[in-house]
């Protein structure tokens, strides 16, 4: 997957989780949680969805890698290169 595709996957997952999500003013370098007003339960869902879709196991200590949209893409790029 390209970086752009990965970004779209993340946004699509968030949109699925949260029908109120508003991406218009989303900044790729700022924490997703604050900007989208998500909590840790929602955050778990992003991880779970990645596991379900791509069989990705993300250990709890690596959750911080998913904090911004950019860091998500950086972290997932090598893991999703064969998809």
């Amino acid at each position: 997957m390209t970086r752009n595709e990965i970004k779209n996957v993340i946004l699509e997952i968030i949109e699925d989780i949260d029908e109120e999500a508003d991406f218009d003013s989303l900044e790729a370098d700022k924490p997703l949680r604050d900007q989208l007003d998500l909590d840790s339960m929602d955050f778990l869902d992003i991880v779970m969805e990645l596991r379900k879709r791509y069989k990705l196991q993300i250990p709890e200590e690596e959750y911080p890698e998913l904090s911004t949209l950019n860091s998500c893409v950086n972290y997932l790029e090598p893991k999703l290169k064969d998809f």
Partner: protein, 460 residues
């Protein structure tokens, strides 16, 4: 390989929510329910062409869809249900009525604050401090039991105000007698007074159907008339369940929503059952009245919490029924609901399970009638006499609750001691629902979600 990754005992609200959460992330899950329909404490039945709900006065924790952090909306996100398409009606106005004093509350918390400054002018400051505490307190952080009564005595100058505030919070969500844990007090205070009451546009039947459909769409399986007779245990692990018909079904984990005492019986769990047997049970009476008689009674509130006594004591009565305090609910009085003819009035009174259980079969129906009359006398003092107009009446007692939900002693709010982490004596047997700690419809569902998140999704 086990037949399922997870078996859930019970298709009440906690079991259904847990099932949806587990199935959503691909777990192979089976819900087994002893009854022929879902809902447990919150179900429905048909009489004379009317659909009657068993346990819905109002849902608590109202929040509009855009308040993302509100428990109701978090719950919907967790279950991947669309909050926008869930149509709700907010309460009109509810009331707490004590001798000589009345407090109103609605989904606008200012109304309660105003009424308190009018009825208890000396308590306005104390109440403000109470509100600050309720907003800041973290009721989910592990903490030892603390007395809500003692706390209230410290901030409110007038014990009667504490009684008035406690009545709705206790009767809608306290499994202990007399007092309440401060954390539970905060949860209930927010749920009722800060967030507020509402009901779904449709009945609990449509709500349950929606949950079951959603669950099965995610691949979850459900079986009705499938009572669990025994949980298969080997040392400190469980292997699955045996149904009443003898069928064995194996599973990687089991989640029970049957309550602690019932789960202990099913799984040879050597605990002191009596410590986990709740004493608070209730009799619920549903009256149907013709619409044209609506004007002859006081009918402008959604829910009335009343107490005729000088003090309010939340405890199991010595006799069959406690008629001096209770709840009167008008299920039709929510904003924007079309009126129905006949319309419903529901009354809840605390009841003594042991007394009802001791009744001989022929005596039971008469007992219901006798106590219903006494209850109606007390209710009449608040809303006016309505008895001559009743076109249909039905009551259910602690016995009914026990029979249909297997809640030991008909304890609606379950055990006075909660197992907040949902763990049991076996590493892969968990409990959710009423005895895990969250109460009410929204609470029971959040419980199911929380336990799945903590124990089933994080593992592997």
């Amino acid at each position: 390989m086990a037949d399922y990754q997870l078996i859930i005992i019970g298709a009440g609200l906690s079991g259904l929510a847990a099932g949806i959460r587990a199935a959503r992330f691909g777990l192979k899950v089976l819900i087994v329910e002893q009854h022929w329909q879902p809902g447990g404490l919150n179900s429905f039945y048909f009489r004379q062409g009317h659909l009657l709900e068993t346990g819905l006065h109002a849902m608590t924790n109202y929040a509009p869809p855009e308040e993302k952090r509100a428990p109701l909306n978090r719950l919907f996100r967790q279950l991947r249900l669309s909050r926008r398409s869930f149509r709700t009606h907010e309460q009109i106005c509810s009331e707490i009525v004590f001798p000589d004093r009345t407090l109103r509350f609605s989904n606008d918390p200012d109304l309660l604050t105003e009424d308190i400054s009018r009825e208890f002018p000396g308590a306005a400051d104390g109440f403000r401090r109470l509100l600050d505490m309720v907003r800041d307190y973290d009721p989910f952080a592990p903490a030892p039991w603390r007395s809500a009564r003692r706390f209230l005595d410290g901030v409110l100058p007038d014990g009667r105000l504490a009684d008035m505030l406690l009545l709705p919070l206790m009767v809608y969500g306290n499994s202990e007698e007399e007092d309440m844990d401060l954390g539970q007090f905060v949860i209930m205070f927010r749920a009722l007074f800060l967030e507020g009451l509402f009901r779904p546009a449709e009945t609990i039947k449509e709500f349950l159907d929606m949950l079951v459909d959603h669950y099965t769409a995610f691949g979850g399986e459900i079986r009705f008339r499938a009572g669990v007779k025994r949980i298969l245990r080997r040392g400190d692990r469980v292997d699955g369940v045996v149904l009443h018909n003898g069928e064995r079904i194996t599973a990687g984990s089991v989640l029970s929503t049957a309550g602690i005492p019932a789960t202990a019986d099913l799984a040879d769990w050597d605990i002191d059952r009596s410590a986990y047997r709740g004493k608070m049970s209730f009799m619920e009476t549903i009256y149907l009245l013709p619409l044209r008689r609506g004007a002859s009674i006081r009918n402008d509130r959604t829910i009335i919490f009343f107490n005729h006594g000088e003090h309010f004591a939340y405890r199991c009565p010595g006799e069959a029924l406690e008629t001096s305090w209770g709840v009167i609910c008008f299920p039709g009085n929510f904003k924007g609901l079309p009126g129905t003819d006949p319309f419903q009035v529901r009354v809840t009174n605390a009841a003594n399970y042991e007394v009802w259980k001791a009744a001989a079969p022929g005596e039971y129906e008469m007992m219901k009638e006798r106590w219903r009359e006494r209850s109606a006398d007390q209710v009449g003092k608040i809303i006016g006499n309505f008895r001559q107009d009743v076109v249909y009446v039905d009551s259910f007692t602690p016995m009914t609750i026990e029979r249909f939900t297997a809640k030991a002693g008909g304890a609606v709010y379950g055990s006075p001691v909660k197992l907040k982490d949902g763990r049991t004596h076996c590493a892969n047997l968990f409990i959710a629902g009423t005895d895990q700690g969250y109460l009410g419809i929204v609470g029971a569902m959040l419980s199911g979600v929380t336990i799945i998140n903590r124990h089933l999704l994080r593992q592997e």
